[in-house]
């Protein structure tokens, strides 16, 4: 463990002990965070990692290629563990300040790049290989991938985009767009209100309201 992480741990422990007298819950949260840093340091020992990586639960790491994790990335623990598999010669990058929820599966045989401040929801699967071909996956900054979505090989997702829950993204998503459906279709986020009427599902039990 790097001296930087040890120092931060010491600061955290001191703050936690101080907080024990006044605010139990804050002390408990600090303790949890400190344990998360320790767990992150142990789980990601074979990866290039930044500082303050927090792992709240078990993450299965197979680092045969090169995995690099930016600083302050949070791996949310939960009932289903996440996994990061990087095959030999592959590259798997997670940008700084990203949040990875439980049950996330990342598998890289070529390259998977995830930008800064991304949010990967629970049970998201990102892979860059199928039985037939492999192509790199590139996810921009500030991308939010909601629960249960799947990103297929060769996809590039632009900055600020959102992938809706349960969608399967097979084609590129431009910046600041919403990808929804299986296969995902693109809706521009700044035009979302205008397209809401078009995407509203039919409601047979209710008479249509006249505009």
């Amino acid at each position: 463990m790097s001296p930087g992480t040890l120092w931060e741990l010491r600061v955290e422990v001191v703050r936690m002990v101080r907080a024990l007298a006044t605010d139990r819950r804050a002390a408990l949260n600090r303790a949890r965070r400190a344990v998360g840093w320790l767990r992150g340091a142990v789980l990601f020992r074979d990866c290039e990692r930044g500082r303050r990586i927090n792992a709240s639960g078990y993450v299965r790491v197979v680092a045969e290629g090169r995995i690099s994790i930016g600083e302050r990335v949070v791996f949310g623990g939960g009932m289903i563990s996440s996994e990061m598999i990087c095959h030999p010669g592959a590259e798997l990058t997670i940008g700084a300040s990203s949040i990875v929820n439980y049950g996330v599966s990342l598998e890289a045989t070529t390259s998977i790049r995830i930008g800064k401040r991304c949010m990967l929801g629970s049970m998201v699967r990102i892979r860059d290989v199928t039985r037939l071909f492999s192509a790199p996956v590139s996810i921009g900054e500030d991308v939010w991938i909601a629960h249960g979505a799947m990103v297929e090989p060769g996809v590039t997702i632009g900055d600020g985009s959102v992938v809706s829950a349960g969608s399967v993204v097979t084609r590129d998503v431009p910046s600041r767009c919403l990808a929804i459906g299986n296969p995902a279709r693109i809706v521009r986020l700044d035009m979302l209100e205008a397209t809401k009427e078009a995407t509203e599902p039919p409601r047979p039990d209710r008479p249509k309201e006249s505009a």
Binding site: I80, S122, W144, A165, S167, E200, P201, P204
Partner: protein, 171 residues
């Protein structure tokens, strides 16, 4: 003798994991149940939380509630997250790996750190939710409705209807 010992252990594990919930008679958990948060969880009678394949998560924020009726079956890997209220009626069947959310947690546009308001989720009696379905805020499953596998529901589903697809469309 081994069988009776095992059933005693299973019973104890089930009661221990449900110790912070109000449970009805014959309600049990098989496998691991993760309860997060300090909200209120009420389970009716004869509820089965079958987490043998993957743990079930019930996440209730402070001041929130999850109310589950009688004769409900919840499959493994399901996660029910309540920031305000999730109400599940009698005889509902929720299959494996479903997700029930009553808050999006982030807005689509703008500052993603600002949590939007919650919309309570109601699943009425006799409904069936297929495996890997996702119920987003604003979903209301009518009586006897059927939600197909992998469906993403964010609106009201009329009673006795079958919905499928992303977004959910009446079949």
């Amino acid at each position: 003798m081994i069988r009776s010992l095992r059933s005693w252990v299973d019973g104890w594990l089930s009661r221990h994991q449900l110790r912070s919930c109000a449970v009805g008679e014959s309600t049990r958990v098989r496998g691991r149940l993760w309860i997060r948060g300090s909200g209120e969880i009420r389970l009716g009678k004869r509820v089965l939380l079958d987490a043998m394949n993957a743990p079930i998560e019930l996440h209730v924020a402070t001041g929130a509630q999850i109310l589950i009726g009688d004769d409900v079956y919840i499959g493994g890997g399901t996660s029910i997250e309540a920031q305000k209220s999730v109400v599940i009626g009698d005889r509902v069947r929720i299959s494996a790996f479903c997700k029930v959310l009553d808050n999006h947690f982030h807005p689509l546009t703008g500052n993603r750190a600002l949590r939007p308001s919650s919309t309570e989720i109601v699943i009425e009696e006799d409904a069936e939710i297929g495996p890997r379905a996702i119920l987003l805020p604003g979903a209301r499953i009518g009586r006897g409705a059927s939600v197909g596998p992998g469906t993403v529901v964010s609106r009201r589903v009329p009673p006795q209807c079958t919905v499928a697809g992303i977004p959910a469309v009446v079949q």
